[in-house]
């Protein structure tokens, strides 16, 4: 499934989506950045509550398909610009991480 379809089907808010046609496969939940880099697979959806600039770098380098910020966490405008420039898709969910993940079941 494409990131743009996932966002729509799950009702996630789109903070930025420079590469909405990217395919999502699987998901990983984590806030410790090195765990994410060590364990998250390429092309997965990464669910986190971290919202600093390093999240964008990790998402880009670990090559995940999108970041989903859980618990209503958001990014400031400057970071959204950075993410857009780096081609990182960022979605936002009002739900906690677990409930956010259950929305993905059967879709990615």
């Amino acid at each position: 499934m494409k990131v743009v379809e996932l966002a729509s089907l799950c009702g996630f808010e789109v903070l930025c989506m420079p590469d909405g046609d990217r395919q999502v496969s699987g998901a990983y939940i984590g806030d410790l950045l090195s765990w994410v880099m060590g364990r998250a697979r390429a092309d997965s959806a990464w669910i986190t509550i971290m919202s600093n600039v390093n999240v964008i770098a990790v998402a880009s380098l670990a090559d995940v398909a999108c970041v989903i910020l859980a618990e209503g966490v958001t990014l400031d405008d400057e970071l959204i610009k950075t993410a857009t420039a780096k081609g990182v898709n960022i979605l936002k969910s009002e739900l906690p991480a677990y409930e956010t993940a259950t929305e993905l079941v059967g879709k990615v």
Partner: protein, 141 residues
């Protein structure tokens, strides 16, 4: 064997927000060279972890990336405090990072283990009070 392509970076030691710039640049360079996404991912993550380590522990340093026909070599060098116990530092979950570093999502004690995980060869030369050089190789062919 032909001469490698060499990329050199100075890693700024006082700023987490700029950490990763060298890794992102390398990612773009390797993409232009046509390397596979999986190789690029492994090089990028190993290098980013190294960059972050130099910011957390060593007040910065240098990164040199050499692209050969059959492998990518990453050499990270700093003049930081050195690693007292390399065996401990290699253990998953062991970290000497500060609480403020941890609040940013770093300091999980996974940096060096990740660098080893994603590379085919890794060597650490460290002298307490002098500095640390980490040399990593990722085979492409």
């Amino acid at each position: 064997m032909s001469e490698p392509l060499v990329f050199h970076f100075d890693i700024n030691g006082d700023d987490f927000s700029t950490a990763g710039q060298a890794s992102v640049q390398i990612k773009n360079n390797l993409r232009q060279l046509g390397l596979s996404p999986e190789i690029i991912r492994r090089v990028s993550i190993a290098m980013y972890e190294g960059e972050i380590n130099m910011v957390i522990h060593a007040n910065g340093g240098t990164a040199d990336v050499k692209v050969y026909e059959d492998c990518v070599e990453i050499i990270l060098a700093d003049n930081g405090p050195g690693i007292k116990d390399i065996d401990m530092a290699m253990k998953e979950g062991y970290s000497t990072a500060s609480d403020s570093t941890r609040s940013l999502g770093f300091g999980a004690g996974m940096g060096l283990p990740n660098m080893k995980r994603y590379t085919d060869d890794m060597k650490i030369d460290s002298t307490v009070g002098v500095g640390t050089t980490v040399t990593m190789k990722i085979n492409i062919a």
